[in-house]
Point group: C2
Chain length 246, copies 2
DNA sequence: GAGTGGTCTAGACCACAAT
DNA sequence: TTGTGGTCTAGACCACTCG
């Protein structure tokens, strides 16, 4: 079932990406859109608010909404799942488990997963490839109630997210991400084929279910030049934060 | 004037950050909040939708809203302005102009600023310090209609954003950011005091006015260990995108 | 001053979750 | 079955922008 506000948002998104409203131009007014789609004004407002949150348009009281960008941002699942993201861009994704061990959580992992220090977790290191090229080394700590399902996955499983959904119906709904740069260590030097000491883009993330229960916390290190992270923000919606390192 | 929905959002944000609703617990229902604040249900929904966008809470049809995090994210102005961010964290910010020249825009700058290649821009390199320590080398290209105001700023101007607002009333409203990792070059080696070839966190950003007119495009390179970028996202709101490098 | 988006109300019905 | 959030309506008033 597509809701009316979704339909209106889709229509606008498509019109923008097709160039009917170039960057800098104004969108039709709320009342015009309401009349055109035969809905109440509130429904139109709900539709444009999603485009606002996506950073596609800007809004100011008294003036018509303005197009800021023509390229929509990606879905959460694409951000979370390496393979889903790769496929959406026409690349093939691969993966291989480097190591898989159960051990007590270190203080950092315990804090991220809301567990007591020393609680048992499953630690998995995976090498991910894009079109056969290694681009990413991923170290993940899983909470124990999902550990068995993770261990049942094939070593070269292409999509961990999909595998866990198929097996136990797990749906990941929220994520917290921290991005910084680090130096390649011994493991990255060997697995990613980079020089020792070269820069890597690091993404640390903790993912939770819809109820807010932590499932995994990961440390992903990207080979330089392979991936860029992009954010649009504004006075009206601000997802990105700069933090002191720690 | 604080709107009623803002007041409700502030109350909830404060209650969450004070631990009245720990991570994982449920918020009161919409109708309870509506009764408690003596407003219509729509007003409550507007309030909780801002917390949803901030990633503080999660929401599912049929179940009460759940607290995901107790730490609010920062404002857009803090992200844009290095000095404002520093002050909010109890640090002192400094700056010094390394170079300032007018020259034709290169293809990358022209594309970001929606200018023809070769149009004149003002290029400024600045070293930014945190508590006296150099942490960031910033190269910015400004469009010509703001160039004179930028040149009027003091060389050790602490906040460029504030200076431009005071001088010509410029307000920056939207930003697009791309994050990756690069290797320190000659200039960074000298100014940031890092070893040649060491990793730097790079943030490239383009900022526009509320109307969507580009004002500046910058390339900021952070000393490793000085800052981390953080993002919260979910199936319900997704600001961050992963892009193939290019 | 006319038009626009921002706020707010008071209702209605539906889809989904919990029990 | 009951309660919850999600959708939608039809109106009202206000703050702001722009010609």
């Amino acid at each position: 079932m597509t809701r009316r506000h979704q339909q209106i948002a889709n229509d606008l998104r498509e019109a923008i990406s097709q160039g009917r409203y170039p960057v800098g131009t104004a969108l039709p007014s709320e009342s015009e859109l309401a009349t055109a789609h035969d809905v109440a004004r509130g429904t139109v407002r709900q539709a444009v608010s999603t485009l606002l949150a996506e950073g596609l348009i800007g809004s100011r009281q008294g003036a018509r909404r303005v197009v800021l960008s023509t390229t929509p941002s990606q879905s959460f699942s694409q951000l979370r799942s390496f393979s889903e993201w790769a496929h959406a861009h026409g690349h093939s994704a691969g993966g291989a488990v480097v190591s898989s061990t159960r051990r007590p959580a270190d203080p950092e992992e315990a804090a991220q997963l809301l567990l007591p220090v020393g609680a048992e977790i499953l630690h998995v290191a995976r090498l991910r490839t894009l079109d056969g090229e290694p681009v990413l080394l991923e170290r993940t700590a899983y909470v124990d109630w999902i550990a068995e399902a993770v261990e049942r996955l094939a070593d070269d499983c292409e999509s961990v997210t999909q595998g866990l959904y198929d097996d136990v119906g797990l749906v990941l709904a929220h994520g917290e991400h921290r991005i910084d740069a680090v130096t390649a260590g011994t493991l990255e030097t060997r697995e990613l084929g980079v020089r020792r000491g070269s820069p890597l883009l690091r993404l640390r993330r903790t993912t939770t279910t819809a109820e807010g229960h932590p499932v995994e916390t990961a440390d992903d290190r990207y080979k330089p030049g392979s991936v860029v992270f992009a954010i649009r923000n504004s006075t009206q919606s601000n997802p990105l934060a700069r933090k002191p390192a720690g």
